[in-house]
């Protein structure tokens, strides 16, 4: 069974059709790179998967259930776009922020136990930021913030991790570390990864599948096929195409 399946999906955003007749099926353990020009509907697509936007027509299923009736939100980890902490004065520790990632597993009033705090500490250790546990969220660098918010997305050990341009604010070295970490998760824990990126030089090294979107679906399939497709050269250009396919 596909872990995410879309069938003739159409989504309207601010009165215009942002997604038109999108169909694809993502299997458990896939690492899908989602690419496309600015404003092509990439973020709209994942927000629809997350139930944040309504469908105009068609269907989208997560783990075999229509998104409107899907309730196992703890199975999905989400790292939103532009995740630099906007309010530097927000009075919360790293542990408090990461702990919110566990609330999807709790029923009202969603109280946290000692075991939950241990889980928070464990995920921070896994991402090599254990020392930041009690640090104020506003004191972190861009790279540290990104890891903390990734920890928030991962703390409930979700089956699917959805990342919206996670490396946009990172320097090249931190970006490389980030990709390595995500790839390790995919390989070692079988986590399904959906990653939106403009990072054409790097995504080819890691993704097993590519989804190329420009309001409608231009390409969806294995990376090897993407390398030889017209969609690839149209979006990335011939030189990047050569570089990506060579690295993969």
């Amino acid at each position: 069974m596909s872990i995410i399946a879309a069938e003739n999906l159409c989504v309207r955003y601010r009165q215009s059709l942002a997604l038109e007749n999108i169909s694809f099926a993502i299997e458990p353990g896939d690492y899908v790179g989602i690419v496309g020009p600015n404003g092509s509907g990439k973020t709209t697509l994942i927000k629809t998967m997350l139930g944040l936007l309504e469908l105009e027509s068609g269907s989208i299923e997560i783990m075999g259930k229509p998104v409107a009736g899907f309730r196992q939100w703890q199975e999905i980890g989400y790292l939103p776009q532009a995740t630099t902490i906007a309010n530097k004065a927000f009075p919360a520790s790293v542990a408090e922020v990461v702990s919110t990632g566990l609330l999807g597993t709790k029923s009202f009033p969603r109280s946290l136990s000692g075991r939950d705090w241990q889980q928070v500490a464990a995920i921070l250790e896994l991402l090599d930021i254990g020392q930041l546990y009690g640090e104020q969220i506003g004191n972190l660098s861009g790279g540290q913030s990104q890891r903390v918010l990734l920890a928030r997305a991962m703390v409930a050990t979700p089956a699917i991790l959805i990342l919206d341009e996670p490396t946009a604010a990172l320097d090249p070295e931190t970006r490389e570390q980030f990709y390595t970490m995500i790839s390790r998760l995919n390989r070692e824990q079988g986590t399904t990864i959906l990653l939106i990126t403009h990072d054409s030089g790097t995504i080819g090294q890691y993704a097993s599948k590519m989804l190329y979107l420009d309001h409608s679906l231009i390409f969806y399939g294995n990376f090897a096929d993407f390398c030889h497709s017209q969609a690839m050269s149209r979006y990335f250009g011939d030189s990047s195409q050569h570089l990506m396919c060579h690295q993969h």
């Binding site: 944040l52 009075p91 919360a92 520790s93 922020v97 919110t100 609330l103 999807g104 969603r110 109280s111």
Partner: protein, 273 residues
């Protein structure tokens, strides 16, 4: 020495005791809600609701009804109206607050000019009269404060997650619309209680000052809540005492004490940095 004996004597009076009890409970509620509202950039909702309540208070005074009976349901209505305008009226939250607030003030002033003989009463709601709190109002403050604090405690995790990142909270399966409704409902009840303490003109200061003062110096969200509550209690108690001793309006004294606390916290923050 004379001041101390004056103070001890003052504490024997029922109206001072009621003022301290009512002011403290309202102050605690305002401080707790204030931390969430300030961080969500909704702090002016208190100002908007307080100003809007001039209309129902004016109407009630004109009809000879106890003002709170009309002000409470109308403030609740106004709070949901603000949310609805912000969500579906294609406008930012501050514009929705300004719009609802202006309507309330305009209706209140119109009613005051049409009626005669209740302008003095309306004046007391503009600037508050905590030393005139009745037994019933003191009890109402305590009961409503327990309700407000209980509901905040029950929704604490959801409110915290939403305050930090509302979209992420939605992805977690939190019904953010319901929690937002709870927050504005509690705010409208608290604002109405606060009108008796400092008046419609200053009630938003009870929401904003303790929160922003705590946010200057604290680390951690629960600590921020506790510190805001401490500043609120200290300012209400010392403001009422100051008003009694110096014979100045209690509402204004509470706000000025809050301002002093804020300046000290701001100075400490700058000094540490």
């Amino acid at each position: 020495m004379e001041t101390m004996s004056q103070l001890i004597e003052g504490l024997q009076y029922g109206f001072i005791q009621r003022a301290l009890i009512s002011g403290s409970f309202v102050g605690i509620c305002c401080a707790v809600l204030g931390v969430f509202l300030v961080l969500r950039r909704l702090s002016l909702i208190g100002e908007g609701l307080a100003h809007f309540s001039l209309a129902p208070i004016g109407l009630a005074l004109m009809l000879g009804i106890y003002p709170m009976y009309v002000a409470v349901p109308m403030a609740v209505f106004a709070s949901f109206w603000i949310l609805q305008l912000a969500k579906q009226g294609n406008m930012y939250g501050d514009a929705a607050i300004g719009l609802v607030s202006a309507i309330g003030v305009a209706v209140g002033i119109t009613l005051a000019s049409l009626g005669s003989g209740f302008n003095v009463d309306l004046f007391s709601y503009l600037f508050g009269d905590i030393l005139a709190v009745s037994h019933g109002e003191a009890w109402a403050s305590v009961i409503l404060s327990i309700l407000v604090l209980g509901l905040v405690a029950m929704h604490y995790q959801e409110l915290f997650a939403m305050t930090f990142d509302e979209e992420f909270a939605q992805v977690l399966g939190i019904n953010t619309e319901r929690v937002n409704h709870v927050l504005v409902l509690l705010t409208s009840l608290t604002v109405i209680l606060g009108i008796k303490v400092v008046g419609t003109m200053l009630v938003s200061s009870l929401i904003i000052f303790p929160a922003v003062t705590a946010l200057q110096i604290c680390q951690g969200f629960k600590k921020a809540l506790l510190l805001a509550v401490s500043f609120a209690l200290l300012s209400v108690v010392s403001g009422i005492i100051l008003a009694f001793i110096a014979n100045v309006p209690a509402g204004a004294a509470i706000v000025l004490v809050n301002f002093v606390f804020f300046m000290v916290a701001y100075g400490v923050k700058k000094w540490i940095a």
